[in-house]
Symmetry: C2
């Protein structure tokens, strides 16, 4: 028998546990039984907090999406030349990724089998689209190279940025600080690896 823990969870702290399990087992591969074991409380205690695992997924990816869309409302993303704004958004995206790592990791692994997953994919595409428009504006202003397809450039930019979730770990032991990391990503993405 597992020792049942007294249920001192809030929806917020329960979310932390759920996101960890979702990232370990995949959302599809996670049952309420797995969540109950990981949290150390009964399934009925979990149902006291949330309607089910899909609600936990919705809360988790909402947190990631709110972080990302929040960037687009910041002054740095709204004022100035498009190139400055797109560099700002890239930098802040890296910062949100590192600050909300488990939530963004889950968002990036969503596959689309449930309504919530399809909604999350739709919102992700919307964010990519907003960044793509900024890139297009920067090309129009002559600051970004015009010889590269914008859709492809957007994909490669996000490919580079999103790959962080595969290896960035905030614990000590070698990972660069989040701010320095954001600097490097912006420098490589916009200036390239070649010496000036």
């Amino acid at each position: 028998m597992t020792t049942a823990k007294r249920d001192t969870y809030t929806p917020e702290t329960l979310l932390t546990v759920a996101v960890r399990v979702f990232n370990e087992r995949g959302y599809d591969g996670t049952s309420m039984e797995h969540l109950s074991k990981a949290a150390g409380i009964s399934k009925s205690s979990i149902y006291h907090h949330v309607a089910g695992k899909e609600e936990l997924l919705r809360r988790a990816v909402s947190r990631a999406l709110d972080g990302l869309f929040g960037i687009l409302e910041e002054t740095g993303a709204i004022q100035g030349r498009a190139i400055v704004r797109v560099e700002y958004v890239t930098r802040r995206t890296v910062e949100v990724l590192t600050a909300e790592l488990p939530y963004v990791t889950l968002l990036l692994r969503v596959r689309g089998n449930t309504r919530t997953e399809r909604w999350a994919l739709e919102r992700r595409r919307e964010f990519d689209q907003r960044v793509s428009e900024l890139l297009k504006a920067a090309v129009a202003e002559g600051d970004l190279r015009a010889d590269v397809d914008i859709r492809l450039a957007t994909r490669l930019l996000f490919g580079m940025v999103n790959s962080l979730v595969e290896w960035y770990r905030p614990q000590p032991g070698g990972s660069p600080e989040a701010e320095q990391l954001a600097d490097t990503v912006v420098r490589l993405a916009f200036e390239g690896m070649r010496a000036a």
Copy 2:
């Protein structure tokens, strides 16, 4: 009852089926039963060709790894300044990714639960390490910027390149040709997105 197909497989054609199933369900989530159903032949027919699913995994990731390590033996990767060699290797890596898409996809998703998976991860790290050394040589020759950590630059470069497996599909309907794609990746990675 499923209609059993006459076993006309070779180890090679069976591999094509296995890789598709591994990529759809994950290697861990694939049983011999799943493979038997997908191939339309009995489990004992499969065992006639291979010792089990781990052998299929080994053959599949070997194909991807042989493609990648083969690049490092090509003249373009051996002769000339390091910057030219590293651009060559980047371009050819994109070409191998697109040509061997299901095999490289599987390689990039390997997790390390079995001996074969750990061996594959080890070989992947070795390839990354070889590219990292080329980048280091190019910095030493003054052609790549010295203000970026090489380990981080390697990770970001592979983050960009490897992201192709998530969206590149060779079928008609919009995906850029493999060669043009390789050009764009090299241009963005080395020259950056900014207009010259």
